[in-house]
């Protein structure tokens, strides 16, 4: 058995392999584009969300009922959670639509992977024999989807930071020219700046690397969890197809919610960090410290 695949059913002759591959299987090729089963699942997820949103809009009333009730509960809970991260209602209201969209997109994609319609598919000939290719695969069980979401989250956070605190401060966060400039302006007052400033500049570069790490961690965390869930379900079904996978399906439903929540919460955290002016905080802290020192001096004098 290869490291990246699990064969769930194997027969000696005329074998049909039901492999859970690391990548989304192509189901249709055109000249320039390959349609994968994960992409089809994503489209289905988009369709489901669009239909639900349209139904919600049409049935929206002042006194909530049914779907609107559920949606309102989710929205209110999520907004409160968002407030806990941002500590700022205005910021929450700006970030919230993106975060909740990510949550629903990831959640529906996670859950679509659990549907038994994944049993419908094509039989493709490969070098090893016949291989079963399902029409649907959880959208988030394809690393392309999670990478797309992660890139959008990190880019969005930086753009949000640019609009919130300005392009110069965001630029200085990564390429800290301000710190290098301080070597010339503060050298007379503080000699240690010669050592501190290059370190600060290097930390800025590390921040830049950290942004790529964010993309990697966001995308691979989600992909890994969802893919592991699919492998787990396939393994359980291979051991005993009836009853045995049921508890694991419930587990995966829960994992789907948790992963969607983690992804969207991290997105809110990144947006909040990006919109926070650390220099202003430092200056404010410096002023506060200065005032404290003065008050201590005054107190000691009066004593």
């Amino acid at each position: 058995m290869e490291a990246n695949q699990i064969k769930t059913t194997i027969t000696d002759e005329g074998a049909i392999s039901h492999e859970t591959t690391l990548f989304a299987e192509p189901i249709l090729h055109t000249n320039n584009f390959t349609f994968t089963n994960a992409l089809v699942s994503s489209w289905l997820a988009v369709l489901i969300i669009v239909i639900l949103a349209v139904i919600l809009r049409k049935k929206m009333r002042e006194v909530p009922k049914g779907l609107q009730n559920i949606f309102e509960v989710v929205v209110e809970g999520a907004l409160d959670l968002c407030d806990q991260v941002t500590n700022n209602r205005a910021l929450s209201m700006t970030v919230f639509p993106i975060a909740i969209s990510v949550f629903f997109f990831v959640l529906v994609n996670n859950w679509l992977g659990l549907l038994p319609i994944g049993g419908l598919g094509l039989l493709e000939k490969s070098s090893e024999g016949l291989a079963f290719v399902p029409f649907l695969r959880g959208g988030t069980a394809d690393v392309n989807t999670t990478i797309a979401l992660a890139i959008m989250a990190v880019l969005g956070a930086n753009l949000f930071g640019i609009f919130s605190i300005g392009i110069w401060k965001i630029f200085n966060k990564y390429v800290n020219l301000k710190a290098l400039g301080q070597i010339f302006t503060k050298i007379k007052k503080d000699k240690t700046i010669i050592i501190v400033a290059p370190i600060t500049f290097f930390v800025g570069l590390l921040e830049l690397v950290g942004e790529f790490a964010k993309i990697a961690s966001l995308s691979f965390r989600l992909f890994g969890n969802v893919f592991a869930g699919e492998v787990l379900l396939a393994s359980m079904a291979a051991i005993f197809a009836y009853i045995l996978p049921i508890p694991f399906i419930f587990l995966e439903i829960l994992v789907g919610v948790i992963q969607a929540l983690i992804f969207s919460m991290l997105l809110v955290v990144y947006f909040t960090i990006s919109a926070t002016d650390h220099d202003a905080h430092d200056e404010h802290d410096g002023e506060h410290e200065h005032v404290n020192k003065e008050s201590i001096i005054i107190n000691s004098n009066t004593a």
């Binding site: 990548f23 994968t36 988009v46 919600l56 949606f71 929205v75 997109f105 959008m152």
Partner: protein, 153 residues
Amino acid sequence: MDSIISTFHIDWKIIVAQAINFVIVFVVLYIFALKPLSKLMAERAEKIKQGLVDSKKANELLQKAGEEYKENTIKLRKFSVDAQKELQKDLEKLRAENIERIKKDEEEYKKKRMAQMELDKKALIESATKEVISLAMLATEKLISSKKDLNNL
């Protein structure tokens, strides 16, 4: 890097397609669900807030009205007691006056009756005298006539 790309079949075209999918979800959710729902929820919250303020005001008004009612009741009770006392006084006075007047009327009535009775008595005596006289005259006449008859015998 190449091994990662080939292992996971990372394809920038699919990444773009998935990004477009997410953008569609975001736009649709924002336009059809989040924006109108936020507006609706904000309006409802405002109404509830206003309702709470109004109910607080109404409660205060009710409390004030209750206090006013109590004060007015006390005032009214006091007024009614005073009025009753005054009325009783007036009644006593009226009663005394009435008794006085009745006594006067009674006195006058008595006097009138006495005068009337005197007049009646006089008239009665006069008529009785007349009758006695006429009866005496009649008897005399009858006696005379009876004596004439005896003489004729």
